[in-house]
Symmetry: C2
Subunit: 258 residues, 2 copies
């Protein structure tokens, strides 16, 4: 076991274009077997949400979308595909900002992100990909199936993080974050702990699942065709109960930026 002082991030090669009904765990397992020889106890498997959504059928054929008046208006004014705007509005539980055709919205899950998580598909110009309906449940299913495949069962099953890339206010660029988590503590709470010098740490809760997702993006990136990465050697610095991606969503009553 690592003490957490060194981590490897291994890009998983050989995962084909994923389609509705594919056995995603089998495709990922084959890629992991070929790229890394298998999984080890303590591994975290980071999976880009797009292949999860495709396997689950969270894809909308724009040819079947009838845009609302608002979607038509936004589309015409900002040269956007009104059908795609319509899908974004349907995925939104709340519009946080709408500015020059850019829509920042809260999804049914509670995530606040551009276009309510609706992405262009790389498989067809007439399709858009939504977020998985329940990314934590998707992560949990993948965890169990991958663990089973590699002989890691119960608590030894790999943690699974399903990622998407989100923008952030005040900073340029998007970064990978965790939208689904299974088998690990997504937050590490240092409050009340003392550092190596014996001083009490100031209030700090680290979103380690988001940091794992960000780390994985560095090998999974969009040109590489690697939608999955293994993070090996990560050791949670404090014992923590496993949680979910929902734990990473700020409670509305504590949110200063609603």
């Amino acid at each position: 076991m690592s003490d957490g002082g060194e981590i490897r991030i291994i890009g998983v090669e050989g995962i084909p274009e994923v389609r509705l009904g594919d056995d995603l765990a089998s495709l990922i397992a084959a890629g992991i077997a070929a790229s890394a020889g298998g999984l080890k106890r303590g591994d975290v498997v980071v999976v880009t949400h797009k292949i999860v959504s495709k396997a689950e059928g969270q894809v909308v054929d724009l040819r079947e979308v009838e845009p609302s008046a608002l979607a038509e208006q936004v589309g015409a004014r900002w040269q956007k595909d009104a059908r795609k705007v319509e899908v974004v509005l349907r995925e939104a539980r709340r519009i946080v900002r709408m500015h020059q055709g850019l829509i920042i919205a809260e999804t049914a899950h509670g995530f606040v992100c551009a276009n309510a998580g609706v992405d262009a598909s790389n498989a067809s110009p007439d399709a858009v990909v939504l977020l998985p309906r329940d990314p934590d449940a998707s992560a949990s299913r993948l965890r169990e199936a991958l663990g089973h495949r590699f002989g890691l069962t119960g608590d030894d099953a790999p943690a699974v993080v399903i990622s998407d890339s989100f923008g952030r206010p005040w900073r340029r660029g998007i970064v990978n974050v965790a939208v689904g988590v299974s088998g690990m503590a997504p937050l590490v709470d240092y409050r009340g702990q003392t550092d190596p010098a014996g001083y009490e740490l100031s209030a700090s809760v680290l979103a380690v699942a988001d940091e794992l997702a960000a780390a994985a993006e560095l090998v999974m990136h969009k040109l590489a065709g690697r939608p999955v990465a293994i993070v090996r050697g990560y050791a949670s610095p404090l014992p923590g109960l496993p949680g979910t991606g929902r734990d990473l969503i700020m409670e509305p009553e504590r949110d200063l930026f609603r």
Copy 2:
């Protein structure tokens, strides 16, 4: 050279408590020599801002701070040290939110973060640590000194990222981000690129320097006493000109959340 399909994140051990006037590059170089045997071409060295600030004297002795009336008021109302509140207000160029004693502020650099980047010191209850005055310049100096130390000069010198942990609206927990960058492109712009299947990528600019900082936090974490990490094997997916941490700050005119 790696093709970027596997990355190692190596925590650097043995860096002592840093004090004003310490030769930080020498301390880091000694730790790198002991922990990793040296640096290789393409390495990124991530350094937590706290040791940079301490070496540069960006530390305030609270016993010498006279709180303003506002700082006294906020401190009394929310049971905070009014002297620390005063330092936060002095570091702030603009207050973004002030709520129940929590201050989200824009720093002179343009970063928007809690307490304008003012941290408790782990070295003394009467001291607070500020952000480095010019984190990009600090990164550039460390880059040159570390490159010189390990025989990597000119373009071969290691990239350096100076990190801090920031909160984000809408999500719980803080994550490491880059506040200073030297020797690498902090943003990777995929617009106009095609993915392996030949489809044009939708608008996406990845903040890879933030992702590198986040990745490093997974081994540098607060209990481990490792304020530095090496990221080895990262390959920028597109040629990009080196930039700075300032490039990661959203331009006010494009910022929907001012």
